[in-house]
Symmetry: C2
Subunit: 153 residues, 2 copies
DNA sequence: GTAAGTGCAAATGATTTGCACAGCG
DNA sequence: CGCTGTGCAAATCATTTGCACTTAC
């Protein structure tokens, strides 16, 4: 498969391509059709999909792609800081393309994960016990509960 | 293997046995030597071990125990609310026998997990966005950083 | 005595890897 | 054109399960 022409228009499609071209250049990896489509799927996913879910979505555009390319590409993207890998309910890795600081709202019924932003949390007074322990680099916060839709059922 | 006599002395060993006997009775499961030793290992573990780690520890006392008994027993204990299962860095489940509300301090160098208590967190003002989403049942909080010992290296 | 629990071995599911070919730079 | 990336199949690792035997109650 040959990639689209290098000329940049202002369509969102072409912007993604151009953005991805620059990322590949910057990190010295090759721009392949597979990587581009995985990148697109990640950008449009707000539900923190598993590798299998990403596989299913990319397959619609690239039917010949294999699951191991998904895994390899996700690992590459993770190393470049484009996605974060995390584990939640089970042994399946989930991938979050949202690189802005945020937290998760998790419904324990439907297992859907929603991002939320809470910048004021920075002002929180961290307990002394935590300060004594060492140097804190990040705070992970997560609320678990039942979302509105599931409550209705 | 025949279990020790049912008479309760005040030694910590016997107290654990008696405590476990009552738990089994209450939940209607059989008191086996394997379950008791897994229970002991959990009680004495503050490092949130994986199933393999628990297996290695129990094996010192019960050399013939099998890994699948560890898994089955951990699942049973989880269902009874004696341990919590969670996923952190990888696809390996970790088990936490601490049933009191607490949070985790995680060293990203040595991967050690320390419990800490922060009851005042209950007074935190939960953002409206979170309240609108649904009913919150639990808050999970975790600090990641580098512990004192690892900083020295 | 009987149903629950255990150990063994094999199955399963997620993820990784070796290798030969394909395609980006 | 060379080396990185991909697809395939097989390997690996964590965890689960079927089955026959054991044991707590």
């Amino acid at each position: 498969m040959i990639l689209a022409s290098p000329t940049n228009t202002n369509s969102p499609e072409e912007n993604t391509l151009e953005q991805f071209r620059l990322l590949c250049q910057k990190h010295g990896i090759k721009l392949t059709y597979q990587r581009l489509e995985i990148f697109r799927v990640l950008l449009s996913s707000t539900d923190h999909p598993t590798a299998e879910e990403i596989y299913a979505r990319v397959k619609e555009k690239v039917p010949t792609i294999s699951l191991d390319t998904i895994y390899r590409t996700l690992t590459t993207f993770e190393e470049l800081g484009l996605v974060k890998r995390f584990y939640l309910f089970d042994d399946k890795a989930r991938f979050d393309p949202n690189t802005k600081p945020h937290f998760h709202l998790i419904c324990t019924k439907c297992q859907k994960i929603l991002d939320f932003y809470w910048p004021e949390i920075k002002n929180i007074k961290i307990p002394d016990q935590v300060k004594k322990w060492g140097k804190i680099n990040q705070l992970y916060l997560e609320f678990r509960g039942v979302c509105r839709q599931c409550q209705k059922k």
